[in-house]
Amino acid sequence: MSLKTYREAINEALLQEMQKDKNVVVIGEDVAGGAGTNGEQDAWGGVLGVTKGLLKHFGRERIIDTPITETAIMGMASGAALTGLRPVAELMFVDFMGVCFDQILNQTAKFRYMFGGKAVTPLTIRTMYGGGLRAASQHSQCLYPMFTHVPGIKVVLPSNPYDAKGLLIQSIRDNDPVIFMEHKNLYDTSGDVPDESYTIPFGEANFTREGKDITFIAMGQTVEICNKVADTLKKEGKTSTVLDLRTLSPLDEDSILEAAEETGKVVIVDESYPRCNIATDISALICQNSFDSLKAGIKMVTPPHTPVPFSPPLEDLYLPSEEKVINTAREIL
């Protein structure tokens, strides 16, 4: 066990799985970097350095730099998964899904069902998402609701270094396609992470706080916001449950309903666009199944229905914040 950043936890998961299983390969743009140049090899190790250092262990045969052709990358990764490798493909920013979505939506996600159960596609897609870096409209989106909408692909959103390592190892070992989504604002956060290899099963949400007065449901970056709000409310004598979903698909419906029923008051905090997102998905699930336990309408804290603005003060206003969450909670407390 030692203190590691979210970035280091991910890097270590890759390193350990690649050491363990020679069928694991990493595919993406500049995942090593320096390909074809006279300068440093492993020059980048990913655009934010997450795969840095893997090249020296595994060489270019397993750390595969590619041209900027995401359709070919995703297709290659899923074809490789179909035929015996266990690839980890990188979609640099999830915002770029639009140039390669067919290979995910209609190909890899559907193979197993469409081919009558005969296909096994152990593919992991790693991608960065989320706001806060002033990266503007095309590099700050969440988009995980779109992947969650698609049957056949699993959606994983670690909120901390411990989960990042355990869930990534699980993703690589899983026999279905998984999109593993890394919040770029979390890379430098740190926490205790075991040095050895371990997995966290999919479909098990994590209670980060347990209380009686109100329930917060969160994912990715919003977990920490909700934890802080819970701590603030505690000082005021109100206790909160905070549930970190960890995997959006499969979804831990039991824990969600349990968490909702315990307090009867629910606030869901989701950084993605507000329409057809995870907040609405969870709200509808609870309302359909646990209506009799509810004491108030389920509240949602999300950005407004606009693209992500560039200007720092606008982006700050745009994103969910402790202030917005606590104000919303107070409406029903």
Binding site: P67, M76, G79
Partner: protein, 321 residues
């Protein structure tokens, strides 16, 4: 001609099976006995067989919406395929896929595809597996003249070229994409595109099985030996319309006649092998009759077979219900 008698028989068997299969589907569909959308391969048989006779069972192919021929050439069972087209439970995909999603991974058939240009990116992956595991296998991606414009094709050719993958790209150019002529939709030349992305590129007469076979042999052997990917631009034509139900009003009567009479790869094969004294007419006719019988049987079996039931709806996914 490098093929021995057995191989020649196999080639004709395969082409006849494809012909009979899709001719039968044509009639079944017209008789309203078959659901969905079907795209027939009649007229292009030499391409599938000419390529796939160079492949072994561990080699893979990814097909198109017009996939029956590729499946048969790669060794898929025609009865299981036919059951699939009828949506039956023991169809090759349990009835869940249908004509556009026929696949049999155990035969190295990675799937027909409802998305134009969807297959070649997947072929990159199979080829990457072979390169990584050093197995000397190859993977072949089929696509049409219409598909040749799709960005996924360019990207795939480039990726294969950059990583020197054992991937073969086969453009089956039948002159039309739906009702649009290749002359209209293809800017420049398909062959030049292959070259411009760094592939060993060849144009092939797709009505001539032997030309397809020989050229495929050459590029596939190279790919197996680590010499990298290739493009075959196969000029062919299809007898029926884009899909069943298409009135083919965009082709003239003369063209339809020409395709049927002068560009039939089976006729041409037959002529060549008999003229050269390699196979005898009665042998060939026996093969034709066997294929007919086999397909008739496949249809009878398919009609009798069971549909899937509610129990089957929710299997083959990771969500528990």
């Amino acid at each position: 001609m490098q093929l021995n008698r057995e191989e020649l028989l196999k080639a004709y068997q395969g082409m006849c099976m494809i012909r009979e299969f899709d001719d039968a589907v044509h009639y079944e569909f017209a008789a309203d006995a078959m659901p969905g959308f079907v795209h027939l391969y009649v007229g292009e048989e030499a391409s599938a067989m000419g390529i796939c006779m160079n492949l072994n069972q561990k080699d893979t192919i990814a097909s198109t919406h017009r996939g029956h021929g590729h499946c048969i050439a790669k060794g898929c069972d025609v009865t299981d395929m036919m059951k699939e087209l009828y949506g039956k439970k023991d169809g090759i995909c349990g009835g869940k896929g249908g004509s556009m999603h026929i696949a049999d991974l155990s035969k190295g058939m990675l799937g027909a595809n409802g998305i134009v240009g969807g297959g070649p990116p997947i072929v990159l992956g199979a080829a990457l597996t072979y390169k990584t595991k050093k197995t000397n296998n190859v993977s072949v991606g089929f696509f049409g003249d219409g598909a040749s414009n799709q960005g996924s094709i360019s990207e795939s050719m480039n990726m294969a070229s950059v990583l020197k993958l054992p991937a073969i790209f086969v453009c089956e150019d039948n002159g039309y994409a739906e009702s649009t002529a290749r002359e209209y939709a293809v800017g420049g030349k398909i062959l030049d595109r292959g070259k411009a992305f760094g592939l060993d590129s060849h144009e092939v007469d797709g009505d001539n099985f032997f030309e397809v076979y020989e050229t495929a042999k050459h590029v596939i052997e190279n790919a197996r030996n680590g010499k990298g990917p290739a493009l075959l631009h196969i000029k062919t034509s299809k007898v029926y319309g884009h899909f069943e139900g298409d009135a083919i009003s965009y082709r003239t009567k003369e063209e339809n006649e020409r395709i049927k009479n002068d560009e039939d790869p089976l006729k041409i094969f037959k002529m060549k092998v008999t003229e050269a004294g390699l196979l005898e007419l009665d042998q060939l006719e026996k093969i034709e009759n066997e294929a007919k019988a086999k397909i008739k049987n496949a249809i009878d079996e398919s009609k009798k077979a069971e549909f899937p039931t509610s129990k089957d709806l929710l299997t083959d996914v990771y969500i528990k219900y």
